[in-house]
Symmetry: C2
Subunit: 455 residues, 2 copies
């Protein structure tokens, strides 16, 4: 039995080579699309100061932060009375001043402020790194998971929104994952709150209608009532959320009727119109849907909000984001607007694995293996290997002279595509016996022919 | 002034886009060489159980572990008396059961035991991930840094040692970094300890002579005396450490004289001979040196040890490793031998940066920028952009219509290679004005010509 100390901590996992190759395939596509749109990479450290992280993710976020115990005598300066109070929240601030990053957005905002003089605005950055949350682990939810964020900060242009939607479309097209892209605008939601006479309750209204997909309209209305939204307002909200028709029809209905007297609401409609104007000039695979019930959880969004979901598998959103007007404000840099979306690499992987979307080449890790027949043959094979590797082929010589069956078994398990056999005969006639492991076909060929066949 | 909460924690750092591109260049070369030798990637979580990590790195290592505070009420089950004892070492075991990985070797050993049924031996893996140490930060030493490890476990063949030296040679050749590769064998060192009559003091002898480079022979001898090595033994050690001649001469001298009566010592000589036999069949750029004073700090090495240093810049080793016969033993899996080397990505970066080794292409991040002349031009440029990106070129349209000077300034700072100007004239005649930012040359060309020029 494996001892506890030989196991990963609860909620975390290792990635085996087969998984790594597939994950790298996903990251590679995401990265290459980000770069083709002019976004450039940054990385931030796993640890941030606790003061950087707290107060940015709401109460739940603060609770789910992983905190790092201060080095050395962490109790120095803490009185006995303070300890015996057992106020865990207070105490943890005293004994831990660093935490693991919870997402990539807050570290990015901190980065922009710290490196203000080293970057040029608009700053288009992408960042692919793990984040950590002390959530209760469950199927498909891990305590360490990877986010792929793409943000531009310092530009108000809706062209950025449009291009980020194009990025989403392009990435999922390349991955072969079928999605629905929904967009909305927080200003329209503010306008709606105004229109139904509950302007000051915009946040609880947003949080409630964000659950429409999960709990349905009946439960949403219940929650709205609990949050103190008047019966009249809830009644007026129904036809608005249920608006049908084309994007243009919906926007016109909002502009000319529902939001006629809401300045912020009409601003939102204007932004949405301009955004759809851009989108129609693109050759998108998936036409984004204007969904008035899309709300997104986070407080800091102020304009366009975006979400993409799988249409083939029931799972949380694969990608989401939006515009924020003052994220760096908390770090002392005011009036810098940004927009960004985040791709959940782990969920995307899960969908692709379940729906069998990975191309065949992601099954193999090493292309060619030489069987080891002993010392004399080893030296001969090593010089062949040098040539083969020079041409970029991933190749190896089995390191020990053991039974051929065992060596072939290794090649099979490692999913090696070709096996080369070079014994006494082959050394004499200068040929290589090459076996294609998939078809089983075996042939004697020259080194050049082998390189050509495999390349 | 930037607030504290807008700064990375002490000893950690952000990577800006310019640095990222260069770092990725280093990682890409390392990864591609590893793969061409049949090594396959794995990743392990940032956190490990404290029980996995402690007791593996000596006392200093235990002290330098970053520990994660348990979630929730971390004081539950700890009595007032226990707390008031203020025994920080004991207490930290009670309030933190996870830590950040300290290197990649111990997590790899844990991985092998945990996934024993999912992997095939010999298991050739590589792993490129950050590690964390609560060391006092200083120039060139960080609390978060990247290791690139390549190990094969479950094979005793010296072919593995030979190939790992080939890997080192190949990587630094490709990076353009001049190195000296030194090798030795722990069995020879054991034999030497035996030969001078201090067989039981092999570890302190190893630790002392490991410092030869840094502190010189005089201080090493002082340390040996302090550690209780007899004067006679120290005297006898001098000519051994000072052996000169070719590899063959040295090995013969050891085999036939110095280690004549040491079984383990002669085993080490045999291994070294076999290893050099392999190495002479390779076409190495750098011939490895047999250095009897190479010792390596870690306890767990049992055979070949390897180290590579820059010959152009004074800095710690760029790469090091060796054979270990029982690393997985602590996790319950006995008698599995492995060998691995670790590349220090941060130091390699520092050498390349200081010695100006990065190729020109690592200076640029985005290749082409379109100037934004306004709404009409935007739409036109977006369709051109779509074609340009399809051919894989990294390209962007400046998102806001601001002064051209400001846009050109952005392009300059971002190190964009080409700027495209498409105003009313160009829209009419269907051409693009393309400016090469390095040469300053400007020309009017078609879209196809542009793609050809830039690709």
């Amino acid at each position: 039995m494996v001892k506890n100390e030989a196991l990963t901590p609860k909620g975390t996992r290792d990635f085996l080579p087969g998984e790594m190759v597939k994950r790298n395939y996903v990251f590679k596509i995401i990265r290459s699309v980000f770069e083709r749109f002019g976004y450039i990479p940054i990385e931030t450290p796993a640890m941030e100061r606790v003061s950087t992280l707290t107060g940015k993710y709401g109460e739940e976020g603060d609770r789910l932060l992983f905190r790092i115990l201060n080095s050395g005598d962490f109790l120095t300066g803490i009185s006995d009375d303070e300890i015996l109070e057992r106020n865990v929240n207070k105490l943890k601030s005293s004994i831990s001043d660093k935490g693991l990053r919870y997402d990539l957005t807050v570290p990015f905002a901190r980065f922009v402020v710290q490196h203000l003089n080293e970057i040029t605005f608009p700053f288009k950055r992408y960042q692919i790194q793990p984040v950590w949350r002390a959530d209760r682990p469950q199927k498909g939810r891990y305590r360490e998971f990877f986010q792929c964020d793409v943000d531009v900060i310092g530009s108000n242009s809706l062209l950025n929104e449009a291009e980020q939607i194009q990025i989403i479309d392009e990435i999922f097209k390349k991955l072969g994952v079928k999605i629905l892209i929904r967009i909305n605008n927080r200003k329209i939601l503010s306008g709606v709150a105004e229109a139904i006479g509950e302007a000051d309750k915009m946040i609880p209204i947003t949080i409630a209608i964000d659950k429409m997909d999960k709990i349905g309209a009946y439960k949403v209305n219940e929650e709205l009532a609990v949050k103190g939204i008047s019966e009249k307002a809830i009644r007026e909200l129904q036809p608005i959320l249920g608006l049908t028709g084309s994007v243009e029809e919906k926007l016109n209905e909002l502009e000319n009727k529902i939001l006629l007297h809401s300045k912020i609401g009409r601003k939102g409609v204007d932004e949405m119109k301009k955004l759809f104007d851009y989108l129609t000039t693109f050759d998108l695979k998936v036409d984004p849907v204007f969904d008035l019930t899309l709300a997104r959880g986070l407080d800091y969004y102020t304009g366009t909000i975006i979400e993409a979901n799988s249409t083939e598998m029931k799972i949380g959103s694969l990608c989401g984001g939006g515009r924020y007007d003052d994220l760096t404000g908390v770090f002392g840099l005011k009036d810098v607007s940004g927009i960004g979306v985040s791709f959940g690499a782990d969920r995307i992987y899960d969908v692709m694995e379940k729906m069998d979307k990975f191309p065949e080449e992601t099954a193999s890790t090493t292309t060619l293996m030489f069987v080891n027949f002993g010392e004399k043959e080893e030296i001969h094979c090593l010089s062949l290997l040098a040539e083969i590797r020079k041409s970029g082929i991933k190749a190896e010589l089995f390191p020990d002279k053991v039974k051929i069956k065992k060596q072939m078994n290794y090649a099979n398990k490692k999913n090696v595509e070709y096996v080369a056999l070079v014994g006494e005969d082959e050394m004499k006639n200068g040929l290589i016996t090459l076996k294609n492991m998939k078809t089983g076909v075996q042939s004697q060929i020259t080194l050049d022919e082998l390189i050509e066949e495999i390349s």
